[in-house]
Symmetry: C2
Subunit: 708 residues, 2 copies
Amino acid sequence: MLFLPPARKALLLLCLCALSVLAQAQEVKSPNAQLTLRFALQNGGVPTYRLTYKGRDVIKPSKLGFELKNAPALTSGFAVADSKQRSFDESWQPVWGEVKTIRNHYNELAVTLTQAATNRTVLVRFRVFDDGLGFRYEFPRQKALDYFVVKEEQTQFALAGDHKAFWLPGDYDTQEYSTVTSKLSEVRGKMKAAVTPNASQTTFSDTGVQTPLMLKSQDGLYINLHEAALIDYSTMSLELDDKNFVLTSHLTPDALGDKGYLQTPCLSPWRTVVVSDKAADILESHLILNLNEPTKYKDVSWIKPVKYVGVWWEMITGKSTWSYTNLENIKLDSLDYSKTKPNGTHGANTAHVKEYIDFAAKHHFDAVLVEGWNTGWEDWFGKSKDYVFDFVTPYPDFDVQELHRYAASKGVKIIMHHETSGSVRNYERHMDAAYKFMVDNGYNAVKSGYVGPIIPRGEHHYGQWLNNHYLYAITKAAEYKIMVNAHEAVRPTGLARTYPNLIGNEAARGTEYEAFGGSNPDHTTILPFTRLMGGPMDYTPGIFQTQISAINPQNTSFVHSTLARQLALYVTMYSPLQMAADLPENYNKHLDAFQFIEDVAVDWDDTHVLEAEPGDYVTIARKAKGKSSWFIGSSCDEQGRTSKINLNFLDPGKKYVATIYADAKNAHYEKNPQAYTIRKVNVTSKSKLTQYCAPGGGYAISVMETTH
Amino acid sequence: MLFLPPARKALLLLCLCALSVLAQAQEVKSPNAQLTLRFALQNGGVPTYRLTYKGRDVIKPSKLGFELKNAPALTSGFAVADSKQRSFDESWQPVWGEVKTIRNHYNELAVTLTQAATNRTVLVRFRVFDDGLGFRYEFPRQKALDYFVVKEEQTQFALAGDHKAFWLPGDYDTQEYSTVTSKLSEVRGKMKAAVTPNASQTTFSDTGVQTPLMLKSQDGLYINLHEAALIDYSTMSLELDDKNFVLTSHLTPDALGDKGYLQTPCLSPWRTVVVSDKAADILESHLILNLNEPTKYKDVSWIKPVKYVGVWWEMITGKSTWSYTNLENIKLDSLDYSKTKPNGTHGANTAHVKEYIDFAAKHHFDAVLVEGWNTGWEDWFGKSKDYVFDFVTPYPDFDVQELHRYAASKGVKIIMHHETSGSVRNYERHMDAAYKFMVDNGYNAVKSGYVGPIIPRGEHHYGQWLNNHYLYAITKAAEYKIMVNAHEAVRPTGLARTYPNLIGNEAARGTEYEAFGGSNPDHTTILPFTRLMGGPMDYTPGIFQTQISAINPQNTSFVHSTLARQLALYVTMYSPLQMAADLPENYNKHLDAFQFIEDVAVDWDDTHVLEAEPGDYVTIARKAKGKSSWFIGSSCDEQGRTSKINLNFLDPGKKYVATIYADAKNAHYEKNPQAYTIRKVNVTSKSKLTQYCAPGGGYAISVMETTH
């Protein structure tokens, strides 16, 4: 739980027009007046809010409140004690991001509610932006409410109809599901099939869904529900009343079934509603970042976007192994690996890692991720094993010092890997030593993993306990100037604004699933509207050899994407951390296409969403940080389509060469995925482009300024 | 879980007579042949054991086994695959202890059991000593049993009758109960009244009791049930079948209700049965220490017994406070104590601590404990507060550096205090910094505390999770050469042999309860037979001002002991860590009596239990480590008695002066507790002594060699 932020210097910059209204209903509009938030007390002092966009209901009157453990509920019996409005407008620059400057512009309504029967006070703060609404609960320091336990948060989102929804099953432990696209009324019927197996999963209801939840109304409103600044609080899922289309917050419980231990003064995360009648506006929204606090770090010079390759896909596909031996039932503190028989399939051996370093250096990558470098992988999973890794002991065939020396000589970093197997006490016990080991050996970024059920047993990946842990790992890493890319951790909520060394997260079904049976062809046309709303994803695109059997004959999976679209993902799936996930040998067969990955930026000064429809297509153009070049990516669903874009975002008067990496005419994500064409055209800001995308395909364009 | 110990060098010393017997029943006798252990398989392959002492049943045929989670039980269907006997006899010297040398002499029977239906193997190892039996389960590394989860251990202790029992309510979180003395058949009826309130308590049954459980049969057998070497396993309580007088193991569950996560090869703790027809033999038993492993530390030179005073009793009695302010609802990371209003009652202020240092130095104490020195005490308890202390930030009126300097100049150490409030994740996160802070500031011992329910929530003080934590705290302290005195931690099981920096534990109702309403007058005649069987207790005796109202007029409690008996406890309640718990001002009123506390040793070359009957009296003589002097203590119950002892343990031919600190004739623990006499007599090994003990009284004697 955050402390109430002290008055900030930024406030000096703004037009602060506070006024006190003691009526029982208040309204506040967005700066452009298209959104209206109305707060009202219903009969019995039940607090409600309502949100309209251009006069249409986005959220119908919806209740606010909390059920507490061993204390009266905070759901009714309230009166408005105070009400204040103010406006805020400032611009800020992210450490890394999709744009150079972000405008944070909103009108705010802060309603102070008192519950006379218990003498308790809760404040609800609404911020209405042009692109949506954020609101949170604030619990001021007070006699009658000091420490309390949340039984359930009772925040409603009453929708105006049976919207089309892009949803995942509600789950306390995983988001690695395929998105289901259906009407809300169809969720219940489709739930069972939607819950596909996972290493750790705990669903809770036939109508529970996750956030970010993307919705589209029949009359064309795009609505995204999520949360921002999730700190020391349990992650919110949404429980659907599929008769009335009312979603209600459902927090992740702890081992005792409690939903949160809080101490005043404290804050809930922001509940967010991003809305527009244009899908592209949803993707261009910075509302969630704006609702997070500015960075807490004084020095951010050590935080840099990263493009990397890694010893990873070969294990995912089953070609090599994380483990050094084929032993079973090992104990770290008694096994002498030097006396074991190597299995001969260990990926992270010194010679092989050097090949990756060579490839990375040749193609100007920043780093090489190496998984499976450390002891313990023989039985790391599914054993509820407490002392599962020590994070500092390499396998005998992985020479830490030599690889550090070699990588440094080539100007490449090695990315550390800390798989925890969900055993977070063990990780925290070793964390300082592990980070110090990184510093001593030249690592400045770590990919952490939380595969499998959590230890302490009974806790969940998305509960307050783990959310507290993830942030502990991030802030402690910052003490060592280490960047973190956390997999299987909680879905991001914009915290990277505050803690910008959190450069990556997984928290969704990543490219690895293309080797585990495949993902839907429309997957990457949905993720920007769902998972990516909270922050970047380490999606690990760039698979050129889409038939996995070419790598491992036993694996019949194939990537549900054309090769050209794999390039597009470096633009459409925003991340300051981008992997070229395929094997160097596969890239070497298509170096012409690989050139795009080598060229594409990982940090941006500007972004334009050119076309977008969730589940159908996404086309985005981005301008490289500090440079004149632009990169465009387009991804479409299994239908294929013809994309028509206008390059009017280019600087007027400048000349550019566009290199277009596109699907060949006969390309198809399943039948002919590797058929691509590359062509160069001269373009200016007056150019328009019509470009065919194959089924499950797309295109990527680099647009480089030229003097010719 | 310990690894199976490698063959030890000590084995070279012994008569190793292994023989293989494949019969379904085996016997092994104690070295003196008075105890017989018989293992047998009952119908259906149910393993059982039976223990007799001088032909009388101590444990009637009793079942052995385990219920597992999601796996077939290990309770029946067994055959004996192998059976080995051997004898062992060695002597070893503890780092500190009651005697200089301990003989470890037993005959062993190791029965290997195979369960054909599951192809699983379990070994039961029995060690029969002259003073009792220890046995444990060993799970060898095997294909069919690698990782497993214990649902319940099913070890029975079938007693021969409705014995008199000295019992505490079974509880997963506290042992701070008054002992109830009753027949086993009366446990159920007395349970409700026995469960007095505590800061954290979780009882589990109307007939559940704790170990060490002391029993006395109607025909005069003394039997003590406990466990030894409790490592990475859940603490055992005993569930009583009060019709058949069968006790069955009941392990402490985790948050999910599971009883233990194990990985082969692994071991259970030893289950111990100490037995004799003389009560004194129970107290002189070293069986539990013998069943623990030799010390794991190469260097133990930094581990030293400690006699100390402390800023503690004044808070316990309510005279002063741990907290510096009277604020409520504080947050450590936002409260600036320098801007708060001191409450004026804070005990741990620099000037006051110096008074204790002065007193300690004057009377040759080793150390001064200071509680309440660090920030956070304003609302440390009962809030389930995660970040409750940081263990390194002093209150503004506690000058760490100055006190270090001052104490060092007087040759006195300050003892650190780490109250965790049960928030063990928080403690582990701060542990390295906290220990380093200690080293930097001259502390070499820490009193740790675990008051209140545990965080992670759902875990219990005596579960595997916490047992793992306590040992983590001890071994990590050893890295810093820090000694640990853990309060509210698990009851000891002889682990101090292996980890001798564990110099103290609470784990029972200590002297503090004399300020919380009082303890039974017979309490200290029982504890040596129960709690102390597993290891020393930081009982904090030495209260001279037995009327607490003299310290705090609001507190009407009184110490249920005479002053003379308070002296006796330094001998009868063995500990290498002994506190003189009363205020210096109270000692200054009785410096003649205080001389005994100043003189008494805290480490010993020899011990003789001269008289003993649980619940009635205990008289013990001990010889100071490396010296010729002896100290004798005697404690009796509310009846009073006349003690008759023979000093034939003194060195023949030597002359001694005995200073006898005794109850005055009119002394009484309630009516006249401070009436004592001090007399000196010349004694030799031929002397006998008859000494009156008042109700709730006792006596202490220092026996110093003299040349006169």
